[in-house]
Symmetry: C2
Subunit: 261 residues, 2 copies
């Protein structure tokens, strides 16, 4: 149905494709199928490098960090000109990535109005990190980014305060850059104040890669100086346990499961 309409309109379909956390074994068949279908692929260079074997014979449009609007406009323009187009994103395209901006630009710029957008979800990095650690998000979670490039600092702090008030585990993306360290300190302080210094926490770097590094321990001892651009932080809650190199949340009432205790 869609494809005939597309042909009539002269527009291609724009697939926003989640590549997952990096390993090919965590990339879905749906993502591979979308890339097989698109003669034009648009993305940030680092993510394109990750799938260079899938790009043979395609028109590849690379763009640099920070060039998100330009990247999305070029992808929408190629689709408006009649080509099916893939925009690749790390992890899931719907979290801290390009999908939202593509919808926004389609709504704002009449020339793109005929483009169909289809989001192909992917595994966001924090779920690979959580699996590598054990099961720290068992009872739900708050996922937020400490990058203040696109979000006012006051909103990030408000979200951190709200997250800390809950009893949910919290996953922090983009926790710090070379110069951007202050929000990380603030985040740690908020959680220490709200959940106590002994609440379990984890730092994961380069998840599922050879050079993976991890730290597990009480939040008060968190090694903030080791946090870099490739880091993810998970802060636990009252049900979290560190044991045998794993971090996990206990699930529900222990009274219910283990009435003998």
């Amino acid at each position: 149905m869609g494809s005939w309409d597309d042909k009539m309109s002269g527009n291609g379909t724009l697939y926003v494709v989640g590549l997952g956390p990096g390993e090919r074994r965590l990339m879905t068949p749906a993502a591979l199928a979308a890339l097989a279908r698109t003669p034009v692929v648009v993305g940030y260079g680092k993510y394109l490098d990750q799938i260079d074997d899938l790009l043979v014979g395609k028109k590849v449009i690379r763009s640099g960090m920070g060039a998100e609007v330009e990247r999305c406009r070029r992808a929408l323009a190629a689709a408006a000109a009649g080509s099916d187009v893939g925009v690749v994103c790390s992890g899931d395209p719907g979290i801290f990535a390009m999908a939202g901006l593509l919808y926004e630009l389609r709504d704002r710029e009449a020339v793109f109005a005929g483009v169909e957008i289809e989001v192909v979800p992917g595994l966001s990095a924090v779920f690979a990190a959580a699996a590598a650690l054990g099961s720290p998000l068992t009872n739900g979670c708050v996922i937020l980014s400490l990058s203040d490039l696109l979000t006012p600092t006051a909103v990030i702090v408000k979200n951190l305060e709200a997250a800390a008030l809950s009893e949910l585990a919290c996953a922090l993306y983009n926790p710090a850059g070379k110069k951007r360290r202050e929000l990380l300190q603030q985040a740690l302080a908020i959680f220490v104040r709200q959940r106590g210094p002994e609440v379990p926490a984890a730092l994961l770097k380069n998840v599922s890669r050879r050079d993976e590094e991890r730290w597990l321990g009480p939040l008060a001892d968190f090694p903030a100086e080791r946090v870099d651009m490739n880091s993810l932080i998970i802060i636990g809650n009252a049900t979290s346990v560190i044991s045998r190199g794993n971090l996990y949340d206990r699930r529900g009432y222990r009274e219910k499961y283990f009435p003998e205790n």
Copy 2:
């Protein structure tokens, strides 16, 4: 390395495998590989049915809803007896699923101490739902379950209040059962009060299946009576937009992206 140690210890490895939201095209190669490796597979009947073509020649241990502890003990026992075992979970095994409980039982029951546990992450249903809707989790999210089977109602309400205080989108799993409707009403009231009646919201049923149903609109009009066990709810925020059948969050400063306005 691990496999030799495993053989020495006489224990098998227990893989906790995320099947994703249901469609095979959203199941990762890692999950397929883990299932190919395990002669024993344990799970809730409905999830096993979903992968019956992958279970040929295997010992399959089915268990019913609510039998989570028994299911996990049987899986750990099979691994302790020397077999590699797969425990299948819908979505991601680390969110509202079995991974946490398996770690907990291994720590509690000495007979399971030698079992290696490996979590194979999967795409949780909300990310397929979000992709189908557009991009409603662009700026991060709170993921929580309204099931009070394993979590005290007071904790769920506390988490809802905290989530509503943030500016993050909120995804509600297990929003209601046939008799369990009260927390859903409470959740909607909390968000209406905190974010206003006009905040965009979505109801998704049977995501990515033939009988998928969706509703999009202002939270005040939310059709609570249509919510069932197969429903997911997403509640937006001040940046959320409903347009052309999609729900998405605007990404960051519009001022930054579109200075012309």
